[in-house]
Symmetry: C2
Subunit: 214 residues, 2 copies
DNA sequence: AATCTAGTACTAGACGGGTCAGTACTCAAA
DNA sequence: TTTGAGTACTGACCCGTCTAGTACTAGATT
């Protein structure tokens, strides 16, 4: 008999790291659902099944915990930087843009993404640095990818574009502004069906191509 | 010397009404700047130069005061219902749409409107009824006006539109989605110049017409 | 018209009951 | 010996109520 004292499963990460993860998961859940002021550190500790002291060992204070979970949550949102290379050799622009649009709207309309967006808009005044950072790393990054993609497509003569950045903004918002705007104000009590979303995607692409196709 | 005792100016409204107005102005200012949970009833009373008891005489509790100031602030946002009749006999569609677009973006990008929007998005979870009401009475109302306008223009053969509601959404967001989105995340520390805004308006109208003009 | 009076609105501050961020301390587990 | 659970505690804040006293208003009286 060897090592009967080991009751826990083989631990990939140390105890501290495991606790830290539990705290971040709990805090993410609570902050996203109840906002910054609507979440107490006691709640976080309880939901993480951890003592409050442990929370304060891992995170100096509430603000720092908030920043940390926002950064973590931002990392888990969809990444569209690869569209630049994907569109490098497109054969059927209309079809490929349609697919991109559907992928895009599906990713952004997810509850987690919407909650994150709502939370950051709500706290933009209290945490300007966090809001700015999120904007650059999530929606800004996507727009940049679109911008670069369109610039190349214009270079190949497939699109007629003066300002690729403006065109990227038009593309993005033609597709998701309407469902997104409504979702911001109707918390939980509204959900778009996949059919709805596909229609927004298709109509958005249609208008975009009418204006920008050569 | 006549009536030295009268120190106050001729009062149009009674004392209560005057106090009520002071309270609402103070509460509007504070709620818009600091949010619902970030505003205390003591602060409201102090800023209104009124005792807390008076606040509670006029408004049963904090939630009721919040609802009241949101309704009041909503009434003071721009109204676009008259565009329907304005466009009834348009001669130069491109010019008139351009003017509408500039008027629209100027109205919506105002700090007050943006603060109101941010506040309602932040509190959509806590006050679903208030958020829904605001949405229908402010942005929804405008979209409805655009929808009706475009339906009529399509009837006159000036636009080619299957779904006027979708077209209205495209028009609105082509114009203001980009500056609005950024403004949501950059509180105070970003202001678009009139030149920027005009460019968003013009480019939005250009794309819209490319897609929907007959 | 000037004065008095009753009733109402308002002020200032205290207070009860509660929450919350962050700290301290004890005891058990690893 | 280090770590963390559990819990109590501090100091601050906040909602809503209450009390004691002041200011205002309008109608009745002189």
């Amino acid at each position: 008999m060897t090592d009967l004292t080991r009751t826990s499963p083989p631990q990939e990460e140390g105890r501290s790291a495991r606790k830290r993860r539990a705290i971040m998961e709990a805090a993410t859940e609570l902050f996203l659902r109840n906002g910054y002021q609507g979440t107490s550190m006691d709640e976080v500790a309880t939901l993480a099944a951890v003592s409050k002291q442990t929370v304060y060992k891992q995170f100096t204070d509430k603000e720092q915990l908030f920043s940390a979970i926002i950064i973590g949550a931002t990392e888990r949102v969809g990444d569209f930087t690869d569209v630049v290379t994907e569109f490098a050799g497109t054969e059927d622009l209309e079809k490929d843009l349609g697919e991109l649009a559907r992928r895009y709207i599906t990713a952004v309309i997810q509850p987690r993404t919407l909650q994150l967006r709502r939370l950051l808009i709500a706290e933009a005044g209290r945490f300007p640095a966090v809001a700015r950072d999120y904007y650059q790393r999530a929606p800004g990054r996507t727009i940049d990818a679109f911008t670069e993609t369109f610039r190349k497509l214009a270079g190949r003569g497939l699109l007629r574009i003066d300002d690729p950045s403006m065109a990227a903004g038009h593309f993005a918002w033609l597709i998701l502004a309407q469902p997104m705007d409504k979702a911001m104000f109707f918390d939980e009590e509204l959900q778009h069906t996949p059919t709805d979303l596909q229609r927004f995607a298709d109509e958005g692409v249609r208008v975009f191509l009418a204006a920008y196709r050569t």
